[in-house]
Amino acid sequence: MISPLTTRGFFLLIGGIFLFTWFGLVVLPWSYLGHLAPIQEEGSSDITPWDAPGTAHQGEHIYAAEGCVYCHTQQVRPASSGADIIRGWGTAKDDSDDKAPPIVRRTYPRDYIWQGQVFLGNSREGADLSNVAERFTDAASLYRYLYDPYILNPHSSMPAYHFLFIERKISGLPSQDALALIGDDAPPAGYEIVPTDEAKSLVAYLLSLKKNYHLPDEKGPVPATPATPQP
């Protein structure tokens, strides 16, 4: 045993150091960030940020199962830290006002309050997805990208996700969701390629990823407001 400490002293000290680390790294930040409420403007019933639809929440599970987080981040660092803003990952169109300049900002803890599971990520083999719904505005283009990334980007190192789609015989009218594919990817005549439920919820999730609103946090720390009970 190290040192003149008794066994009990040794374990107490080790336990104390662990508690100190746990408190500093997790408990203290948790007390600031654990129960952030959305912002409600006075005289309005709108809250910011707004929750995503249920299918998007189901999509989180597909995002987790397929391990998207191992190549994609969902966090935009401030302009003072890294080049995320320069890469355009923090840019979103302001929906509330067509003439307003685009919103360019970092992400704040409040941006993530509605997500069941948060995927900030630690690797950027692929682009940041904080505002992916600004770059892919419709489901069809996302389906096509997931089915075969090389069509849109020949340099892509992203794997194709054929297994999120099924090829089936067209009976009657072609499906609305059927992918418009050409060349090698096109299905044989009389067949169509359609997304599975997993693909649909994953795309719903991706389409919910945009930070096209301002937060008061941009002007500095927001004083803690009494948390409203969240559904």
């Binding site: 080790i14 500093g24 997790v26 654990g34 199962a65 830290s81 355009g88 948060v118």
Partner: protein, 516 residues
């Protein structure tokens, strides 16, 4: 024919100290079970890693890649996002942790000078531990992963692992508590910290992040995840590996640890500062600025323990190599490399604790460099050296071929050191593009910069896989030979024992008649 009673002579590999030999034989099967399954997971994990790593290339780099890519495109099991975590988890839990448990019980029993009572308990724990890993990996392949780094195993597997671990660690601590008075060793403190931290980390991480995520907590999940991953490096792998080095380096070289009086300072400063390396994953992210700043200062202070431990262990190892010549033997260089990689890992952490360097390297391959330094560099070299040293003592039987050990050594040496260099330098090149202030530079350019390093690292990981294959086959060969010789020795023993009772001459004829 000889009629002297047979004695099963020892092969001369067991400890000559009868007390240590008794301890070794008490832990023989649990430790062997740990090592055998660990080596199995090392092979599995490294092959997964080769596959995962090769998926990041353009399709025409290698001939077999077409097959890999079409598997990945068409079957969810083979997609990168499932294979990569499966590979890392197989290595972290299957290889490193299982092997580490074997090391822990062996060192604890030996330094405490007591044989382990009822080793079947430990064996049961090892069986369930491995079951948990297998179930967890299947869970990841079937899409049950929750994508929380290093906690991807679904909760049912995590619980099995936790309980199996608790049983094992409890037994280890019981052994330590019944230690003979006066037998204290610095390795014990490191082992106790490791045995104590793992259930805390794994239990806390699993309960808070597995299964249903914490509602309304948002980014707190990522704080816990960072605490867990870096806790695993600094409070589980580091203490386990250091315990092995503090025990084996003096034992194998016959030299005392240099600067032995500084060991205490190194120990306490390490466990205070090292877990704060967690904030390296938080810089610039949506977290309180004061947490990150405090953490960077505290984690920056790990240069203290790293320097002290490096001077002690690397210093002693180099001195031993000089004293004994030819790098101190066949097995000793594994330990030297492990000690050197500990210092390198400390330097990598140190680099990440500098804010501007962290901003450059934050999202690049450099993170893999950090992981590989801990897992492959520091811990695997130590564990491999440990297995080479311990197994002959447990079985009283030698390794079959020095050439195979050398082949494994050189494959690991070049594979591991080069992969670390490749992902480290590749991360730097990738970072230069990713964080370029010129808006024209896109992420595709960063990927192009990284590409050749990805290809190089696939080749290096293949070399590691080759080495671990040699290692596994050698271990299997040794075990088969051992079983074979034991069976033959037993047969011989029974033949000799029966001989005097075998009637000869007329009596034999009588016996035959009676028998018929």
């Amino acid at each position: 024919m000889a009629t002297s009673p047979p004695t099963i002579a020892t092969q001369g590999y067991a400890s000559t100290d009868p007390e240590l030999a008794a301890i070794d034989s008490s832990v023989r099967w649990p430790v062997m079970a740990c090592f055998l399954t660990a080596v199995h997971w090392m092979v599995v994990g490294t092959f997964f890693l080769v596959y995962a790593s090769s998926l990041s290339h353009p399709q025409d780099t290698f001939p077999i890649l077409g097959l890999f890519v079409s598997l990945s495109d068409n079957f969810s099991m083979f997609t990168y996002g499932r294979i990569w975590p499966a590979a890392i988890d197989a290595l972290v839990y299957g290889w490193a942790t299982t092997g580490g448990l074997g090391l822990a019980i062996w060192i604890l029993a030996r330094t405490s000078h007591v044989p382990v009572r009822s080793p079947a308990t430990l064996l049961t724990a090892v069986v369930f531990w491995n079951l948990g890993i297998a179930v967890g990996l299947i869970g990841i392949f079937l899409g049950d992963s929750n994508s929380v780094e290093m906690l991807e195993f679904p909760s049912y597997a995590a619980w099995t692992l936790w309980l199996a671990y608790a049983l094992f660690a409890l037994w280890a601590v019981v052994t330590w508590l019944s230690r003979r008075p006066g037998h204290d060793h610095v390795a014990q403190s490191w082992l106790l910290v490791a045995l104590f931290s793992f259930p805390w980390l794994f239990g806390g991480g699993s309960v808070l992040l597995d299964g249903k995520p914490l509602a309304g907590s948002g980014v707190v999940q990522e704080l816990i995840s960072a605490w867990y991953v870096h806790g695993l490096y600094t409070l589980w792998f580091a203490p386990l590996g250091l315990a092995l080095l503090y025990y084996l380096i003096p034992k194998m070289s016959g030299l005392p640890i240099r600067y032995g009086t500084k060991t205490q300072v190194a120990f306490w400063t390490w466990i205070i500062f090292a877990p704060w390396t967690a904030v390296h994953d938080l810089v610039g992210g949506p977290f309180p600025a004061e947490t990150v700043s405090t953490g960077l200062i505290l984690s920056g202070l790990i240069f203290l323990p790293v320097a002290l431990i490096g001077m002690s262990l690397v210093g002693t190892a180099f001195e031993a190599e000089k004293k004994h010549g030819s790098h101190g033997g066949i097995v000793f260089p594994f330990l030297t490399l492990s000690a050197a990689c500990f210092v390198l890992a400390g330097i990598a952490e140190q680099i990440l604790s500098i804010r501007s360097a962290n901003e450059l390297l934050r999202f690049t391959m450099f993170r893999e460099c950090n992981l590989f330094l801990w897992l492959y560099g520091f811990f695997s070299f130590g564990l491999m050296g440990g297995i080479y040293y311990i197994v002959p003592r447990l079985l009283d039987f030698s390794w079959r071929s020095a050439t195979l050990i050398r082949a494994h050594y050189y494959a690991s040496l070049y594979g591991i050191l080069l992969v670390i260099a490749m992902v480290g330098f590749g991360g730097f090149m990738q970072g230069l593009a990713l964080e370029n202030p010129d808006p024209q530079v896109t992420i595709d350019i960063a990927d192009q910069n990284a590409l050749n390093f990805h290809i190089a690292s696939t080749l290096c990981v293949s070399l590691i896989a080759l080495g671990s294959g040699v290692f596994a086959l050698h271990l299997g060969w040794m075990l088969l030979n051992w079983v074979n010789i034991r069976v033959r020795a037993n047969r011989l023993a029974s033949e000799i024992l029966h001989e005097p009772y075998e009637p000869e001459g007329p009596a034999a004829a009588v016996k035959k008649e009676v028998g018929a």
